[in-house]
């Protein structure tokens, strides 16, 4: 913890303290309620939370997905803030048992605040707690409370995490929150109905807890399938990487080229505010932008001067690349990017001769990254160019050969010393 910055340290201490205070207050308020029933609720939801949070599904661009939110939400509606907060405190150390202690205390505090406050909002808005009220849950009566407390839950939870992230990475709070909430928001929305239904099912007197368990069983199978899907996606990516690299290694000079191009393309895309939702497609296309060349090997390796037919064939390689990428990609999007990586803003590119605005930004990013890396690395027929000459070359082509704002972004990266440096890094590694 001593390595962390002072504001972050203060935040990581403040959250558990606030959580502890809230928990104490909530517990004192419980005086008049049936204790046995509350303890029963804590035990049941503790088990459920631990099961629901087991091996969560890892999402492709960071973040995780689990049923824990739906379970927590149901717990609030059924038993109220105090039980939900106690479940959070008791489950967090077990769920994060492999983490450093301050991560455990922070998250326990964060969950207590989230669930406690969401529960208080529910109560304040007139919501009835299913287990403690004699009447069945009525949407007419508690509907507004359900929605308000769900919103509270999502806001507090996402902000608590975003503040820690922003302090840690010294980024702006609102920007960090927006990126995080971009994928968390829809997830809350999709899971919230499951929380409400769980509370409804709980009311079934013949079954009670068994009913909730029966309701959750298909969801666990669904989670299992989603996990299989995400794992398979990962494997797919690893396989494509390993096999294309093996194919690349066949031509010694392009070795690692696509690694560097995708690394640089990602930096450019982040700087240009490229939408996070299309990032995966961009990176996939960057990795495979040259794959169409593999089948043109005989022409490319020709000793004599290329004739017109050869050129016509070469100009087809992005289209060939599109065909191959379309066959191997998980989600559509990368193939058409690959097709456009040799287009130019002035319309002199190939294969379609597109002009400025018609060219996908993703393709323009890859074109610049590709050209930059090609110029700054050694080839059989010439030595690597120094960075500044390559930059100057790109700047000359801005607006005609390359998209101006992408070149501009590259120059900015260079000025801030953030360009990946393939050549120099190799020397450093050998030193």
């Amino acid at each position: 913890m001593s390595k962390l910055s002072p504001p972050l340290r203060a935040y990581l201490i403040a959250v558990p303290l606030l959580g502890a205070a809230l928990l104490a207050w909530l517990t004192i308020r419980l005086a008049g309620y049936p204790h046995l029933k509350l303890i029963e609720g804590i035990l049941f939801f503790l088990v459920l939370t631990i099961i629901a949070a087991q091996s969560p599904v890892q999402l492709p661009r960071g973040g995780i997905m689990s049923m824990a939110f739906a379970v927590g939400y149901a717990c609030i509606i059924i038993y109220g803030p105090a039980v939900a907060a106690w479940v959070a405190v008791l489950s967090t150390p077990w769920l994060l048992r492999k983490s450093v202690w301050y991560r455990i205390t922070f998250n326990a505090g964060q969950y207590v605040l989230t669930e406690g406050l969401a529960g208080l909002v529910y109560q304040w808005a007139g919501g009835e707690f299913v287990a403690l009220s004699p009447d069945p849950l009525s949407l007419r009566h508690s509907g507004a409370a359900i929605i308000l407390s769900g919103l509270t839950y999502a806001l507090i939870n996402s902000f608590a995490v975003a503040i820690a992230l922003a302090l840690h990475e010294k980024r702006r709070l609102l920007g960090t929150w927006r990126v995080g909430f971009g994928w968390m928001g829809p997830r809350y929305l999709a899971l919230a109905p499951f929380g409400v239904l769980m509370a409804m099912v709980y009311q079934l007197q013949q079954l009670r807890y068994v009913g909730v368990a029966l309701f959750l069983l298909p969801l666990f199978w669904a989670r299992y399938a989603f996990k299989g899907y995400m794992d398979m996606r990962e494997v797919h990516q690893q396989t494509v990487e390993a096999l294309t690299k093996a194919l690349e290694a066949y031509d010694a000079y392009t070795e690692d080229h696509s690694d560097h191009v995708s690394e640089l393309a990602e930096k450019l895309a982040v700087r240009l505010g490229f939408p996070e939702t299309r990032m995966e497609a961009l990176l996939f296309a960057a990795r495979l932008h040259d794959i169409g060349k593999f089948v043109m090997e005989p022409v490319l390796n020709k000793q004599e001067k290329l004739n017109e037919d050869d050129w016509a064939l070469i100009k087809q390689h992005p289209a060939e690349g599109q065909r191959i990428v379309a066959a191997i990609e998980v989600q559509p999007g990368a193939a058409s990017i690959v097709r456009a990586t040799h287009e130019r803003p002035d319309g002199s590119g190939y294969p379609d001769g597109l002009r400025g605005g018609q060219i996908d930004l993703a393709a323009s990013i890859i074109a610049v990254a590709d050209a930059y890396h090609a110029m700054t690395s050694d080839r059989a027929y010439r030595r690597a160019m120094p960075e500044h000459s390559a930059i100057a070359e790109l700047a000359r082509g801005a607006g005609t050969q390359f998209e101006s704002n992408v070149v501009q972004a590259l120059i900015e990266l260079w000025q801030q010393g953030e360009l990946p440096q393939p050549q120099r890094r190799d020397h450093a590694a050998s030193a």
Binding site: P136, S138, L139, R140, P193, F194, L197, M200, V201, Q203, L204, Q206, L207, G211, A213, L214, F215, L216, L217, P218, L219, F220, W221, A222, R223, Y224, A225, F226, G228, Y229, D231, M232, R233, V235, H236, Q238, T239, V240, A242, L243, T244, A246, L247, A249, Y250, I291, F294, V295, E297, P298, I324, A327, I328, E329, V330
Partner: protein, 445 residues
Amino acid sequence: MRRALKVYVWFVSVAGIVAVAVTARWGNLEGLPHASHMVLGDVAFFVVMGCLLDMMIVPMARGGAVSAGFAVFYACMLYLGPYLAAFVAVLATLWTDIAVRRGIPFYKTLFNVGHSAISVLAAGGAYYVLMGGRVADVRLADLADVAAIIGSAAVLFGSEVTAVNLAVALERRAPLRSVWIGNARLVLPLDAALAGVGLLVALLYENRDTLFQGYGWAFVASVLVLPTTLLYYGSRLYMDMQRVYDKTLRTLVALKESKIHAGAQETVGHGERVANLASAAADELGMSADDVQSIRYAGYLHDIGDVAVPTQAFDGDHEDAALTEEQATKLRRHAEIGHDILRPIGFLRRVAVLVRHHDRRFDAGPYGPDGEVIPFGSRLLAVAERYDDVTRSAREPLSPDDAVRRLVEESGSRFDRRAVEAFVRMLAREAVVDAVRCEEAPDAI
């Protein structure tokens, strides 16, 4: 279609329809506890739910599929009794087959309708017996009720699985027992979860007025539809991903073949053919779905080491069975390199090992250079590769029958007997070679 299968399919179809007709005419509807206050709305609710959920065929990773309609039919059997549940099942099955799976032959639709009606009626019968003569009265007061609920779900499950797998066994000429156990084990967990939802829905529906005040059907529908949709969607994604993965391997291997061998006729499609042949032989031996999959992937990828050490398919050597020293070294290295390329991918660890040993001679012993056991899959790959090499040779391709003769000659020395035997049996079943030859093969060994 085989005669026995035809007879069976028609029998189930006719029996199912007769059973529904008989119960509709003479079934004791008056005895149902809900008959007094039962309205058309209840039946309509279950029909709509049944049609909706029966369309969700949840595919499963290791083969097989489960229809989410199972939950509705079970709930309906518990709440409305077997006669109306059979009616709902018939309508939902008809709807799915006619509206969604367009173009399937009509006798299949009849068969599907027949077996779902029989299964629901059988489950209803079990419930009736176990509940001591009561139907459509779902309650959970004592252990006998629990037994009736579990017992009738088991009958519904068992009867569905048996009806379908008997047809599969007849079609494949395989023993019912092994087909049944293999398939039931796969679908049991999902069907158990769906039966749980069914029970929950029956109870919620019964208590909908006190619990949900007026908009009960909407809540019950959500409890049915939301989890099953998520399940359906997740499973579909997973299955689609597996298909994409398979296609990716095929595409990249084809790319390698065209790049490195410049499209030589005998090598294009070699990976895919070896994959298909070897995995079919593995299937023939009844190997597990995981093993068959590993063998198929290894078939695609077995020559990936070509990127570093191109081995032309050594097809000229079938006159003199031995490889030259140089060829043998090359083969060894390209198998090792293939292994090194694949090893970093955790998922393909077993595939990498299969690739590493795919060129080993059987008489070189059961152990690799590091003392590891050479997997049987590698033996199958060796046979499949040899078969493809000699039948596709650019110089003098052998006919399938001659190729099999050669494999049989080399079995026990270059190739594992069991691998050759399974391979030849598979070819005979696929009618690639004469059945006679296949009968001879085991004797020749």
